[in-house]
Point group: C2
């Protein structure tokens, strides 16, 4: 099992948390007190990180929010800050890349070396050789999109393929591709029955679960469907925590929201 | 039909070319004469662009090669240069993004606004609502991954779903999602029989075809399987053109390789 998964397990066990805070910085929703300087994205995220690090099993920056704002340097600085100040908390860089061979090698270099992510999210559509270059980083992790939380997820993922759904096939393939213990799966909280199916297929593989909070997924149903004895889930909440407050005390408000979410999750933990 | 597709058609007709040069800059393969300055990636790509622009229907920068080298600014400058000096040649930014709602909106902003791409490549795994935000840019294009040129493409794309293969279903969905005439499909040259199937499903939708040249796809088979009366294909070659020569005359060598490839393509054009 890879260092990334061992670190997750340590957080599930020692810090008593399955909560992941998603870092989707939208300057239009920043508190006015933060100002509009060139480093506002970094300052906002750093304040959230420092206010919630003891409450989370991972942070998940969403790279699109940084790249649309030409803020790669702020993302590098943010991840460096997390590694430096909160070294026990792994960083999952949500990038959903998917490409072959030489190109995938370049994406792996971008995400793992340049940005120093501990784990990434990937699309499975191009198959095993689009995943393989990431597995060469033996101590890092990768979550494959499996059953996503959006409406359009049905378009492909719910198609019947030889007696099972496509998302079930992806889960099955992931277990086959997981010789190094580096893989996890992304399964939306909006579909607890399918989360249970994925858990049945994927053994104790970590599942990254977006969709609680703003997207309306149910925490109790998620926990009952997906948790393992060790924990097993990385339950992401982004907007409901990041934008819990819009005043000067936004970081404290985020902390309060994170505490409440962690408690709601732990209520159902066995 | 969107401006992007009209520009492609003008190139197919007026410039007599279906060739796309893929810009995958790998500094390890640059000629020594280029030096190792901070802008070597830009200088290399600009030389290739200026030497081949009259021969191509599009340029296709692969964003991973830029982002792994922290070269976003060079990519912006390169695309600005193409728009400025070769305004008749559209730019397809190969990024294979795939995410939902708010996140997809940020990726669309990154690719279309920051980098000023005329078209992008996208993954279909998350379904229609992961494509929709790109369609709001009414004059731009988007190519969905359909049947990719790599070995692992079989893992998902060749699964049987209700009497057809998954890649055929993706082609069928794309025709349904294409009200604005903005969509195209990515189909590897390594599978001409499947290219013919996609053409039968997708009408005259533009098909972006990687896999000739270094990947071994056959030009004659590609043309016979995929061309339309207007042209219909964007046939990509990257390495075989970029690295045709390693001396000071690398751009002229690239031009010679591009001429030969365009002629090989046009031999089979009807």
């Amino acid at each position: 099992m890879t260092a990334f998964v061992r670190r997750l397990q340590a957080r599930w066990r020692d810090a008593g948390t399955l909560l992941c805070v998603g870092l989707d910085p939208d300057p239009a929703r920043f508190p006015a007190s933060l100002g509009a300087g060139d480093d506002a994205i970094y300052l906002f995220c750093r304040a959230i990180v420092d206010a919630t690090a003891d409450l989370v099993c991972a942070f998940k920056p969403q790279i699109a929010y940084f790249s649309s704002a030409c803020a790669e340097a702020q993302l590098q600085d943010l991840i460096a800050h997390i590694h430096d100040r909160h070294p026990e908390v792994p960083v999952i860089l949500d990038a959903k890349r998917g490409d072959i061979g030489a190109t995938a090698t370049h994406y792996a270099r971008e995400l793992y070396e340049r940005f120093r992510a501990d784990a990434v999210t990937l699309s499975p559509y191009m198959g095993f050789d689009s995943i393989e270059p990431y597995l060469e980083y033996a101590e890092r992790g990768a979550f494959l999109l499996c059953r996503t939380s959006n409406r359009g997820g049905d378009d492909l993922q719910m198609l019947e393929v030889g007696g099972e759904k496509l998302y079930e096939r992806v889960a099955r393939l992931a277990t086959r591709w997981n010789a190094g213990g580096q893989l996890g799966l992304v399964v939306g909280a909006t579909y607890p029955a399918e989360l249970a199916r994925v858990r049945a297929i994927a053994g104790d593989m970590p599942l990254l679960v977006p969709g609680i909070g703003a997207q309306g997924g149910d925490v109790q149903a998620t926990m009952q469907a997906g948790q393992t004895r060790a924990g097993g889930l990385v339950i992401n909440s982004s907007r409901a925590i990041l934008y819990a407050g819009r005043g000067e005390d936004f970081a404290q408000q985020a902390r309060a929201a994170a505490i409440a979410t962690r408690e709601e999750i732990n209520r159902w933990r066995h």
